[in-house]
Amino acid sequence: MIETKGLRKSYRSRKGTVDAVRGVDLYVEAGEIYGFLGPNGAGKTTMLRMLATLIRPDGGEAVIAGADLLRAPGEVRRRIGYVAQGGSTLDDSIAREELVRQSRFYGVSKAESVRRTAAAMEAFQLTEFAHRPCKTYSGGQRRRVDIALGVIHRPTVVFLDEPTTGLDPQSRAHMWDEIRRLRDEGMTIFVTTHYLDEADALCDRISIMDHGTLVAEGTPAELKREIAGDVITLGVNGATAQAAKLLDGAAYVSSIEQTAGGLRLYVDAGGTAIPQIMRALDGAGLTLGTIELHRPSLDDVFLEKTGRSLRES
């Protein structure tokens, strides 16, 4: 649905050149929620603005929903929706009027636009306030208006630039539901975020960008597995040494560490390792005290790939 090859963009100013995006290849499947993660200044917005035909790439190519970005930008525009990071409404605008006009910009008739606006106000729960000026909305309400404006023409692909930044946890969860609903209606979603937990909870696949290049790509689960596998801690009631001897060298364990209270096992896949560990201990007549599975977080992934924690950058 989205395919890019070597997409590049540099900003030149008096103070020098910023290579915001330095050759990005990526592929997004139809019907996916694709997460685009990275710290401030990683180049996420630049990437999105290129894909949304707002700025011309310095190099590379892209095909979006079957249309070539450079050769048929008009076609791309008809097939995509874009929701900017910084919002898209004036304080004094009325959401309902903006929705109707936005729909008409796509060549849709007035009657149909009014109908779609009513449906969108219903779906995004705007009905109650959409007749008021935008400055009277809450942050979450105004963000929902932005998204409704971005999808009023039912695009094939939607680009959402940090749709949840600045929202409280409840509005954030609500927004995730909206995004999932759009996907269920058949849209392919390309969403940027700073939040690892969001990428983890919402996205089918993600890529991590840092300093203009992709440093990792995959499903959240794959990425986490790729980095550290899973971590299992065992308590074996004093038989620590015996247990270590027993499990060391087992195929499903990649390494073992003795700790104060027991053992820490690094395994490829915790789900399958646990029953095997239990069986092995059982067979050797050792009683299991406690067993705990820890999954590495995307934070660990980011740390591993960039050498920095996402939270500190």
Binding site: T53, R78, I80, Y82, G86, T89, L90, Q102, G107
Partner: protein
Amino acid sequence: MKFLRDTWLVFQGQIMNLLRQPVWIIVGLFQPVMFLLLFAPLLKPALSAGGAVSDADVYRTFVPGLLVMLAIFGGLFQGFGLIAELRAGVIERSRVTPVSRNALLLGRSLQDVVSLLVQAVIITVLALPFGLRVQLVDLLLAYLMLGLIALMTSALSYGVALLLKSEDALAPVMNTLSQPLLLLSGILLPLTFAPLWLQRVADWNPFSWAVDGTRALFAGDPGAPEVWQGLVITLVLAVISTVWAARMFARSIR
């Protein structure tokens, strides 16, 4: 067809924005009305030196200049509204749609032309009690000239706003541009009083031609060469600045 439809949509949206804040039409009228009430009376003695006598003569000379000034300023400062829209992300939202880029500019500029014409009508009506008289056809031609001026200056302002993207940069540019244009156009006083060198410099100011043309129309002399000269000059410049500004709107992948 699509271009006309899109232009209408953009125009309509802008009119809605304006109607939500109609106070701006009044605020925009404040200065010209002050000039009309407080400055024009001062002109009578000055103009009688040049041969004009009656109140009607004074207003026939002064009102056209005032209207041209209104058109110039009304247009040149439209860029500020566009910068507010840029900042709010409204322009970006329009640019990702297939809407015609030329329509994004023209719809806005036409709204500015309409507001200017509304203001021009109000000023004209306010000048009637002072003895201003003008033929309807001449008045309509004068309004055409004013509309072209407003189209030119508002498009210019939008283009520069898209280039500079900040109010802080736009304000000095527009002030530097408008002051000499204003002084050298003979708007407040006809340049017939000016020394020759100043008149030669003013010949290079398109608005000076526009003012002369508008004055000829208010004087009931539509056949005067100033009229067609003024119309041609403003038309050409309006086209150039509109095309340029529309290209600024399109600056992205076409």
